[in-house]
């Protein structure tokens, strides 16, 4: 299989256990290149665990994760590192390094490569900040001085700094007001179109989901219950799907997203 044909993410019979509790059991999950997949599920259903397993922050108890056809834990530290660089992650609370200002945060992964010169890094940081619609003067602010929306944007700029092919978003719009969250969703969508990213996002926000996702995966009972387009998933017969998508509030949110 050549690299171009292999899916971006391939999760095979993944099981995760914390202590005695199984969070995920024998889960299969495949994301093709260019897709935007939303993971939904109740609290504690293992969405974030799955996301962390995909990026390699958690080692699977059983099963395998492959990114772009390559195993996540190959045993070769250098190969693993190269593979991880093809993935960008936006953490729920930004996870900006609070000791660095925005500029240094975005420049950090680039500097760590130890190949690029400082002039090019400065140009790259300016480009990334411009892409996430932050102004040059914001570059010298410390994370503590940023508003919630700006923090997410700065974190997104950092996630994009290594030119990832796969972008993972953990609750990208949680904690933003509706106006901000709409513009953030818009930003992610335009970046996805421009950079041809594969995106996996965990979200509770149906508006975000409706506006971004090409496919939806419903996580419950330690596995993926339904996986398909939004319409297909909404047709699935399961109490969680009913509660999540078919209440009045959810319907209104989805309608807003379609507009």
């Amino acid at each position: 299989m050549t690299m171009g044909e292999s899916p971006a993410i391939q999760v095979e019979r993944l099981s995760m256990r914390f202590g005695r509790q199984w969070v995920l059991r024998e889960l299969d999950f495949t994301v093709d290149k260019g897709e935007v997949v939303a993971l939904v599920g109740g609290s504690g259903s293992g969405k974030t665990t799955l996301l962390r397993a995909i990026i390699g922050l958690l080692r699977p108890t059983q099963g395998h994760v492959r990114l772009f056809g390559e195993p996540l834990f190959s045993g070769d530290a250098k190969r693993d590192r190269l593979l991880r660089r093809r993935v960008g992650m936006l953490f729920q609370h930004g996870a900006l390094f609070s000791a660095f200002n925005v500029y240094e945060n975005v420049a950090f992964p680039l500097r760590e490569l130890k190949v690029l010169d400082e002039d090019l890094i400065r140009d790259l940081v300016r480009l990334k900040l411009s892409m996430v619609e932050l102004l040059p003067r914001h570059a010298w602010l410390m994370p503590a001085e940023l508003s919630g929306g700006m923090m997410k944007r700065a974190a997104l700029a950092r996630a994009l700094s290594l030119e990832p092919e796969l972008l993972l978003l953990d609750e990208p719009t949680t904690g933003l007001d509706p106006d901000r969250s709409e513009s953030f969703v818009h930003l992610i969508r335009s970046l996805r179109d421009e950079l041809e990213l594969t995106v996996v996002l965990v979200t509770h926000d149906l508006e975000t989901l409706g506006a971004l996702a090409t496919r939806v995966a419903v996580l419950a009972e330690q596995r993926i219950l339904a996986f398909g387009t939004l319409d297909e998933v909404m047709g699935a017969d399961h109490p969680f799907v009913h509660n999540f998508f078919r209440t009045g509030r959810s319907q209104r949110a989805l309608q807003r997203a379609e507009q």
């Binding site: 190949v115 480009l127 990334k128 900040l129 010298w140 030119e163």
Partner: protein, 357 residues
């Protein structure tokens, strides 16, 4: 100029300096036609390299696929927004730093004074309403910073006692003044070394923990939650710490001095052949009991100081990791400095008390 292959960060990697040098060779040739249509992949790193080689504008003659245009458009847009430049440094930065430091010291002093005042009010409140006494917190603090500190203070005390005795013995032997080892160890450890040693250890061990704990509680807004419930943060969080250390440190001083003297005694036995019985018999004769009271009083005040300083810096933490580490450092450094400073004041104030005649 025909470009081919993958112009991406991952593909360029270590070849970057070589590639840049080769591009620079051609950058002054304005007549050159650039052909990008054979490039398989182009990301912003690759595009920026080209852009810089083109001296930050599109060259006159360039062929590219339509899907390659947006990345250059993005670069042009970013450039329009202005340059990333830091504000210039002021030549008087050192003066400002000194001024800042003075203001900070003044602010800290003011805040600590307010904290002391608040604690006195809390004390008054507890005397009037004994039911509000935070027993559980006090007891927990007493256990954590007192009982749990016993092994480490004993170990350090014992070793210091051995070392002090050993070094003194070498000197005393040459004067034939062997018995004075008991005077040196007795006065030195009980009056001076014990209290300071314990205060330094407690500042490093419990002081830092208290600052970090209060700091994290500030970061996670737990302290604000307490305030909303109408619970006094000083009464519930600071008062038990101060009270616990005020009780624990004098006791730790006794314990540490005791172990240190045993260490000295063992060492003296081997170095100078002074028997245990003689040592124990002579100790109370050459060390007036006033020294013990001085030591206990020192421990009492040092404990209060360490807890006050630790709590103060903990409450000053701002919600970021940098502030947490800076305040923890300040807490320990300030506590140790103040303890030694106060110890010097005590040394002068008590110079006529407890000295053998």
């Amino acid at each position: 100029m025909v470009l081919q292959g993958e112009w991406t960060l991952a593909a360029i990697g270590l070849a970057y300096p070589r590639l840049r040098a080769r591009l620079e060779q051609h950058c002054d040739r304005l007549d050159l036609e650039w052909d990008l249509s054979g490039v398989d992949a182009l990301d912003s790193v690759g595009a920026l390299m080209l852009w810089r080689a083109w001296e930050r504008r599109m060259p006159g003659r360039v062929r590219m696929r339509p899907d390659q245009a947006p990345v250059f458009e993005r670069i042009r847009l970013a450039e329009e927004k202005g340059v990333l430049r830091k504000a210039p440094r002021s030549p008087f930065e050192w003066l400002m730093a000194i001024g800042d430091l003075a203001f900070k010291a003044g602010r800290n002093l003011r805040e600590i004074t307010i904290l002391v005042g608040q604690l006195l009010l809390d004390l008054g409140h507890i005397l009037r309403h004994p039911g509000d006494m935070p027993w559980r917190e006090t007891s927990a603090n007493l256990y954590k910073s007192g009982v749990r500190a016993m092994p480490v203070t004993a170990l350090v005390g014992f070793l210091i006692g051995v070392v002090l005795s050993y070094l003194s013995a070498l000197q005393l032997k040459s004067f034939g003044a062997d018995v004075y080892i008991i005077n040196i160890l007795g006065i030195g450890i009980i009056r001076e070394l014990g209290p300071v040693l314990v205060a330094v250890l407690v500042a490093g061990r419990s002081g830092s923990a208290m600052t970090a704990q209060l700091g994290v509680m500030r970061v996670t807004e737990e302290i604000d939650a307490l305030a909303v419930m109408g619970v006094s943060r000083t009464l519930r969080l600071v008062f038990p710490k101060v009270l616990a250390l005020a009780l624990a440190v004098p006791l730790l001083v006794l314990w540490t001095s005791f172990v240190a003297i045993i260490g000295g005694m063992v060492s003296a036995r081997f170095q100078l052949d002074i028997s245990y019985a003689f040592f124990i018999d002579t100790l109370p004769k050459v060390v007036p009991v006033a020294n013990l009271w001085i030591a206990l009083f020192k421990g009492f005040t040092f404990g209060i100081l360490v807890a006050l300083i630790a709590s103060h810096f903990g409450l000053q933490v701002k919600p970021n990791t940098e502030s947490l580490s800076a305040n923890t450092t300040s807490s320990v450094v300030t506590a140790i400095t103040i303890v030694i400073l106060v110890d010097a004041i005590y040394a002068i104030a008590t110079r006529r008390i407890g000295m053998p005649t």
